[in-house]
Amino acid sequence: MTKSVHKGQLESPVVASLPTLLNEAGIPTTEMPAVKGAARALSIDSRFWAKAASVMAENYVRWSAVWGEHDSPNILIKAVFAARDGHVLLCTSVQETGGVLPSQTPFFPAANRPERTLQDMFGIRFSDHPDQRRWLRHLAWGEDQFPLRKEFPLAGTPQQETPPDCQYAFIPAEGEGLYEIPVGPVHAGIIEPGHFRFSAMGEDILNLEQHLGYVHKGIEKCAEGRDVQGLLRLAARVSGDSTVTHSWAACQACENAVGLKVPDRALVIRAILSERERIANHLGDIGACCNDVGFAFALVQFGRLRELWQRDNATVFGHRFMMDVVTAGGVTRDISPEHVALLQKSIVQLRKELKELIPMLCEYPSLQDRFRTTGILSPHVARTIGALGYVARASDECWDMRRDAPYAPYQNVTVAVPNCKEGDTAGRVRVRGEELFISLDLLDSFLSNMPSGKISADFHAPQTDCFGVGLVEGWRGETIAYVHLDSNGTVARYFPRDASWLNWPALEALIGGVIVPDFPLCNKSVNGSYSGHDV
């Protein structure tokens, strides 16, 4: 029983102790030095896949991601776990025909959908999985077709018309006075598509089930066979609002794979881009959350600040979202001294306005009345489902790679990580408000200490197969990319893992007891990416 009690992140062991923990539990491990980027890569026998997860869970190691790679006649499986000071890659392999792995879901609910996705995309099975329904696959391709297998052509064999996916087996709502509300995939607002199935009693939501996958556009398959530049154009479009994050993660993965050192100036510019992306999204979302409870004043004010911020992006980086600026080996744009001055000036201005606006929101009674106690994600549940980013921080789970497992240039600065325990919408909005000020401070420090020198190093694709992992703390939270480059320098496998994979279940978990009209507010306060999830 004690094991299920919420423990802080400090309970997690350090990476260095994990091989011993696994070995002591009777799981032999082999180091896999070929995969670069994670702190450790360990290979284990597939029989121990679930047992390894149970050891990790007992020791408060967090589950992060799992993906596959077809290497006929096997499917190679890699899972990422987060320890206190970094990430560990656990690797194993199963046969492509009839391959079965013991599921990690019983120990980590976060593994539920990713494992079902592996079943859909690779045709292996997870035994002891509590939910055998498909996840990413609708009806665009057959049950016995597996798009991420090597022999499956990118073009597939599509039908003239893909039928709507009407047979997905939602958990039925049964009982007197209970009814179901289907919503989506086309929603009422300017928003991405997905389906939500509510069961409700009167105004209260009893249960929410998500059915995603509507914007699956085959990014992983599309990446195969591209050169690195082509890969990065895709990575920048995994989720438009996180274009810097995914570009950086993919670049890091490629650079780690070939062992390329990126110039210091380029790294600082990347961090500037990344913090600017965080600020733009927080500004937009804080305004949108307020608008969802009818407080249009904040929508107008934050929309104004976001617009001004994006215009500066366009002036300095040539694109309002800074798309395609992060590139393999560095960045494509330098920041001139005049532009440094311009950015510094806009930071002063934004900080001044936020000092006025944020306290105003936090004190405004009719706004806080709607935010407080709405959509509570308890710290225990946040930890159990492995929530990330501001969603986790508002529920007292304060992982932040920039502080805990810093990548360059974050090892040179102090990153404050705000948190609170309430886990409600008010908390999520407040944490994001605090993150704005922290990012502004970071930007100040980066801009006033810009290293001189080149903004990119030549990226040469290797003559041999190489493998790299990229890990970046995006504005939504921990973001992962895995890249395998083959001996021709082309992409053999690209896997992006957006933070949304772990935060979509948070929305299901926090919505119980919320009234139906407050759903858009709760949804916005979590703001999962559909595109980043469905890829």
Binding site: P158, P185, C222, E307
Partner: protein, 169 residues
């Protein structure tokens, strides 16, 4: 409350004149109003459909509603249902999983209806092209009246694009 009023007062009016592309804005705006009057009555209702985008296009669609562009001043507003819509603004390459939903949305929109494909993906499939998971351009799935290029189109490009489409009809 006082703070809110004071801040609003200090912020003032943000809407800007659009820089002209071919003709002066006044002309485009006027022509647009006339076209809207001719085609739809007093105003035009827009329903957005994300058929598979990366969400970049959606963010700029939000931006045309901010204080600087305020698309509503031209009589153009976003609505919650295709049944209320005169114009469908469609983004993304059409994912195969969204093919049926997009068609149904199109069918649910009353005639006369205008369809604009917004962004490079909607125009031609963009980076994603046609694949096992993507139908590519919006015009591969429903009839399209005009495209607005860009990845994503800026709010200004979007606004001018919509105005020109109407003018041309």
């Amino acid at each position: 409350m006082f703070h809110v009023l004071f801040k609003s007062f200090k912020t003032g009016c943000l809407t800007e004149k659009l820089p002209p592309r071919d003709e002066s804005l006044d002309q485009v705006g006027e022509a647009c109003r006339e076209e809207i009057a001719r085609l739809f009555g007093k105003s035009m209702a827009v329903r957005m459909v994300d058929a598979g985008s990366c969400n970049g296009c959606e963010l700029e669609m939000h931006a045309v509603n901010n204080g600087f562009y305020d698309i509503e001043r031209f009589g153009i507003h976003f609505v919650a249902s295709p049944r209320h819509a005169d114009l469908l603004l469609v983004t993304g390459p059409v994912s195969r999983h969204m093919q049926a939903a997009l068609k149904r949305t199109y069918d649910a929109t009353p005639s006369p209806k205008v369809v604009i494909a917004m962004g490079d993906c909607a125009a031609c499939g963009g980076e994603f092209g046609v694949s096992y998971a993507s139908c590519g351009a919006v015009s591969n799935v429903i009839p399209v009246d005009a495209v607005i290029r860009g990845c994503p189109p800026t709010p200004l490009q979007l606004l001018q694009g919509i105005l020109e489409v109407l003018k041309a009809r």
